[in-house]
Symmetry: C2
Subunit: 131 residues, 2 copies
């Protein structure tokens, strides 16, 4: 897991990403940086996100519409997310029980080289209250 190179553009993307609570699309980041006066290009945002992603500094997942959304993760360790579908607020959760369950299921059916995706979506307390 080599660290992504740190150019000023990449740092800008890193920073924009770490300033928000939830998952954001490449275009969101681009719009935010532009709004801040940056002259960054959309292509560069995509490339920076990909680099950060490869380096393991950010998590990616796909929305139901197939759009890729990114988030700076606090921990380097394997974890999953509890995401508010209204405000996007995201909580990182560890799930050793789920890891074991997935491994057991796979083993039972003779599958190897397991990976898995586990994400939980809901409405957070604030959004439920503010309705």
């Amino acid at each position: 897991m080599t660290r992504a190179s740190t150019t000023s553009r990449r740092n800008a993307v890193r920073e924009a990403l770490s300033e928000c609570e939830g998952f954001r699309s490449a275009q969101d980041i681009y719009a935010a940086l532009r709004a801040d006066g940056s002259k960054i290009g959309l292509t560069t945002v995509y490339r920076a996100l990909q680099a950060l992603c490869d380096a393991g500094e950010v998590d990616v997942l796909r929305t139901d519409e197939g759009e890729a959304v990114y988030r700076a993760c606090r921990t380097e360790e394997h974890h999953h997310h509890l995401v508010c579908r209204d405000c996007g607020r995201t909580i990182e959760v560890a799930g050793p029980a789920v890891e074991r369950w997935a491994a057991a299921i796979a083993d039972e059916h003779g599958f190897s080289e397991i990976t898995h995706t586990v994400e939980i979506f809901g409405r957070c307390a604030d959004c439920t209250g503010a309705e």
Copy 2:
């Protein structure tokens, strides 16, 4: 969960889907039907899949590349998938423990109206052996 209307084209898509073991993209289905001599259009395949999907007759999920893939599910009940990343063979698995875990995590953080995605990917015994 109203049943999707049954036109001949929709049935063709239904059938094509139920004839294969794993998740298939809209374009795969289209190609298969065309190869069988059907004059169906790509648009219609997309529409049929969406209808079947709305009716709960098929499951959809997104590949890492953002492509939507579909599968006729055997059971109407809530379940997850164990998917071979080589041949696409898919096994439906129930995970009451995971359901409980997800509910508990959500509750603990004050989240409500929970949904979740849980998919396991790996290499099945056949593909491991045939390598």
